[in-house]
Symmetry: C2
Subunit: 178 residues, 2 copies
């Protein structure tokens, strides 16, 4: 039964090889959006953070907190950890921007952003390839069996699109038309 | 040498299986963004199309043409076909929106949008799994050997993010805060 062992090893090897390539492609998409977002947010002054992206729309500070708190929750959605800033969800996730609400300072929000994205980087870099292809916590086993494409990687791609969506808004505060 | 044949078959089977799963994940990301974009654009009246997303920024009609013409070019970037609307690139890709420029009518742009995305749908649905993992036309063989994650699928993920980026702007014309 030598070939059975060989098949087993080859199967394991090629599967891992392919998986690693996919993971890299998906994480490239996520990392690109996070880098771009950090570059744009970090180019803004504290007074820019209080500007609205368009008349009567969200302020930069709101979108910054929105992304940080949503990504903090991503650990839970992926089933990889516990969120640290769930207390900020009413302010930044469950309600639109409100000029009257009391917000953390920009300095505090920057510390939260860096912590959240540092935590995710570590989690992502250390996750075993096969773990990426398991279901996320927002779906049942039965649904996952029907559609195995709804796995952790698909959640990360979805979140990358969500960053891009808000990034298109955040750049509007820049004077030039992008 | 029975096991050699078995290994070959298993290797082929599992590689294809994994590839198909990842292609589905990536195309889900693209299709979701295109469906959302179509839903938002189609909710706008002809007069909405002439509104700017924010003061002194692009109009809806420009972003609609921008996405349609960029996606028409995607066929060339992927090395899967010839663009049909390269003549519109100066208007919608190489220059920002200009109120003075003469544009195709909204009706014409809608026909172009539908044709471009219909063409892509057919190309994408008929592409053999292994073809998705080949390099795109915007890079050399040498660069691809160094980084095989820069393949056709990664281009499609990149374009999905680009749609999301502009979609975040296009929704700003809606009265509610999104």
């Amino acid at each position: 039964m030598e070939w059975v062992l060989q098949v087993h090893l080859y199967r394991k090897y090629f599967k891992m090889d392919q998986q690693k390539l996919f993971i890299q492609i998906a994480l490239n998409s996520w990392n690109t959006q996070i880098s771009r977002a950090e570059k744009v947010f970090n180019s803004y002054s504290d007074s820019d953070f209080l500007k609205q992206i368009a008349p009567e729309k969200n302020r930069i500070i709101y979108l910054y907190g929105h992304l940080a708190v949503y990504h903090d929750l991503l650990k839970e959605t992926l089933g990889l950890g516990t969120s640290k800033y769930a207390s900020l969800a009413p302010l930044f996730l469950q309600n639109p921007d409100n000029m009257e609400s009391e917000m953390p300072s920009i300095e505090e929000l920057k510390a939260i952003w860096n912590e959240v994205h540092g935590d995710l980087k570590e989690l992502f870099n250390n996750l075993a390839p096969e773990e990426w292809f398991k279901r996320h916590n927002a779906m049942t086993d039965a649904d996952f069996e029907k559609d195995p494409s709804r796995n952790r990687l698909s959640v990360v791609l979805n979140r990358a699109n969500h960053v891009a969506y808000h990034l298109g808004q955040v750049v509007l505060v820049k004077p030039e038309n992008i």
